[in-house]
């Protein structure tokens, strides 16, 4: 699978974006187009997950994986916070905001892993989209409790942001539509959301490569200690996720993707929530770590490693 990983067009487009960013090429994806591609991918993955749940029903595996995912999202920020304050030497509020990012999940890392596991013949269960959506929010609550301060915004504003942010609405909404429509209802719109999906993902990863390299190039806040944690934390969280998935009896591809969800760090939903709830935290730290270090590490190295681990444990 390592050769397939490194020669996959999705990964190669990501590497191209990183290269263009580091060499200061004038290549840029228009902001509106990047946003539109993100919406397309969220709808496509939500529909796919909903159809899969309609076909398989609400199974024991779905419930166990959901519980494991919510547990990981709630608990991962605590050891992350400890490491970020002790080893990373971050102030409490910066460490709490960064820890929340590591407890939450990255949609793009999930989609990339799901595509690669499919191609390698160890597909993840479609219901993991539901687990992805469930894992977005709990880490934000843990992050706020670690900051030991009341949110800067009212509880209603924060709840609104956590439960109704665009990625949660799109993911859960599309999943419900896919569930209600089922395979037959999905068929007429499949040409839009199933056929063009991989091409859009490749283009989107080109943009993610540009964003990740720009974050790294322009950051003034990342020390070598934080860079190291940006690799060690997803490596450890990923292993915990795969072991947990295997212990609760998930198929290898599904256990591996639970590991990927544990390893991934948010850079879409949580930054928006943290800017609202903990504006004192420095976005230069948490975005540079999650997008500039952890995301490339997960896409290029960790996804492959976690799938290998899931195979060995199975």
């Amino acid at each position: 699978m390592i050769l397939e990983t490194l020669t996959s067009p999705i990964i190669l487009f990501f590497v191209l974006g990183m290269f263009a960013g580091f060499t200061r090429s004038d290549l840029a994806i228009p902001e509106a187009m990047a946003k539109a591609m993100a919406i397309y991918l969220m709808v496509a993955i939500g529909l796919k997950g909903g159809v899969a749940i309609a076909e398989a029903g609400i199974t024991r595996d779905l419930l166990l994986a959901g519980a494991a995912g919510v547990g990981l999202s709630f608990l991962v920020p605590y050891p992350a916070f400890f490491l970020l304050t002790r080893i990373g030497r971050l102030a409490r509020v910066d460490a709490a905001a960064t820890a929340a990012h590591y407890g939450s999940v990255s949609l793009v890392t999930y989609i990339t892993a799901a595509e690669m596991f499919d191609a390698a013949g160890m597909p993840a269960a479609g219901f993991m989209v539901a687990v992805l959506a469930l894992m977005e929010g709990p880490a934000i609550i843990s992050g706020l409790s670690l900051a030991r301060k009341d949110s800067d915004s009212s509880r209603a504003e924060l709840l609104h942001e956590v439960l109704l942010n665009s990625s949660v609405v799109l993911l859960i909404g599309s999943m419900l539509i896919g569930y209600v429509a089922g395979p037959e209802g999905f068929a007429p719109i499949a040409p839009t959301f199933a056929v063009g999906y991989k091409g859009i993902l490749a283009l989107f990863l080109l943009d993610m490569g540009l964003l990740a390299s720009r974050r790294l190039r322009e950051t003034r806040t990342i020390t070598w200690r934080l860079a190291l944690l940006g690799i060690l934390m997803p490596a450890a969280n990923g292993i915990i996720g795969v072991v947990l998935g295997t212990l609760i009896g998930l198929e290898p591809g599904t256990a591996a993707i639970l590991g990927v969800l544990g390893a991934s760090a948010s850079y879409i939903a949580v930054p928006a929530a943290m800017r609202l709830a903990l504006p004192q935290a420095d976005p230069g730290i948490y975005l540079s770590m999650s997008l500039g270090i952890t995301f490339p590490f997960n896409v290029v190295v960790n996804i492959f490693f976690l799938s290998w681990l899931a195979g060995v444990l199975a």
């Binding site: 915004s153 964003l211 322009e218 504006p279 004192q280 976005p283 975005l287």
Partner: protein
């Protein structure tokens, strides 16, 4: 045509903080405000640019009011300037239809 001297307040801030800052501006006595997009820049925290995907968008909040309103706003906002990474400028402008402000 009667021209009146007023204060024009500009605050560069992160988009998510607009509701909170809008409330503070109103409470200081300003009758309203306008939010304008900005594209990119650089400052003490490094370079930044509009990046909607990660919610990293800054905006400019503009409000026009009396010197007294501006003074009250300054008092309310001063403690937030560093912690919330705000940039605040106050300038003189002349307006017609003073009663609208």
């Amino acid at each position: 045509m009667q021209l009146s001297k007023m204060k024009r307040v500009e605050i560069l801030l992160e988009e998510q903080l607009v509701p909170k800052l809008g409330r503070i501006v109103r409470e200081a006595g300003f009758s309203g405000h306008t939010v304008m997009p900005v594209l990119q820049g650089s400052g003490g925290g490094g370079a930044w640019q509009d990046e909607r995907l990660t919610g990293s968008s800054k905006v400019m909040l503009l409000a026009i009011g009396t010197a007294e309103d501006a003074g009250q706003l300054l008092e309310a906002i001063a403690p937030l300037l560093d912690s919330h990474r705000l940039l605040l400028t106050i300038g003189e402008v002349e307006v017609i239809r003073r009663e609208r402000f």
